[in-house]
Symmetry: C2
Subunit: 183 residues, 2 copies
């Protein structure tokens, strides 16, 4: 069994490949697509998966993810990728300058299209926004500290990010689901 | 001849009604819709107009508008409405704190669906972001200074905003177009 993963984000592909490697090989389709403007990641993922079902072979999955910062009313949320490109980590830190409540959550929603149906796997991680950029990674990795990482940002965790991350959680659910199918 | 205007934004309706009143009455359809995530306002307007053409009678128009700030790579752009709700004028001023280049432009794109076709009317106004909130209005009105207003923000211009505004320009093109049709 092979499975397609649709995304224009190579970093996501690398993370999924790493987490799923013992169960299944994924074929990366490097494609961009119009995402609907909705405040809800699950809506976005389902709409996108339906749209792609006209163009690519099953089974395939895609993922929408977002960083929701409480003191900013959930910003950047579903627009995280756009906001990262425009404002970067420095822009987010600037918005939080002097703000005491730095709580945030990272959410990953996977939509798997298989057997003519869409199944959703969600991963949520609570955490805080750091005071400064720390570590590598990509996107908002250097400013997000998951609550259980002893104060380390995603960017400082390297491959261990998967153990603490929103994507690690959603991908593990996907892995278990596929594992039962191929067993 | 009557024409429908589709929007969930009452302020836009009031501005269009004011600008178009000598030529045509507009019937407001207070509806929200999924906008595609694209960096291009014209794409967004055309896609939305096509989608609505399945649901409402011709002729109708809708408008997408955005504030593009140069030093923020065009942010908030097509996501202006979302960003305004989350960050407000204070959030944008915070992002520009200490930034010298405050140039920005406001763009309005009207998509008119008539005769089975979509016609686009664009209005662009160059300006700057003020150092502080000034005047009333709605949305980003209190922080945008069009270049030709003697330093007044949209919010300080009241109904005179139409003489200087992106929406004034696109709506005037629409008015002239409709004026020729009904003449």
């Amino acid at each position: 069994m092979k499975i397609y993963f649709v995304s224009s984000n190579k970093h996501k592909y690398i993370e999924f490949r790493r987490i799923l490697k013992d169960v299944i090989d994924i074929n990366w389709i490097n494609a961009d697509y119009l995402e609907p403007q909705s405040d809800n990641l699950i809506d976005v993922a389902i709409t996108s998966a339906k749209w792609f079902s006209h163009y690519i072979e099953e089974p395939f999955f895609l993922e929408d993810a977002g960083l929701f910062i409480d003191s900013l009313g959930g910003f950047p949320g579903v627009y995280s990728s756009y906001v990262f490109k425009r404002l970067g980590n420095n822009g987010v830190l600037k918005l939080l300058d002097g703000v005491e409540n730095r709580s945030a959550r990272f959410v990953s929603v996977i939509a798997l299209h298989i057997g003519g149906r869409i199944t959703i796997f969600e991963g949520v991680v609570e955490g805080t926004i750091s005071e400064e950029i720390r570590g590598g990674g990509w996107g908002f990795d250097p400013i997000f500290i998951p609550n259980e990482s002893n104060g380390k940002t995603y960017g400082e965790l390297g491959e261990n990010k998967d153990l603490f991350s929103h994507r690690g959680r959603s991908a593990t659910k996907l892995r278990d689901f596929i594992g039962r199918l191929v067993a």
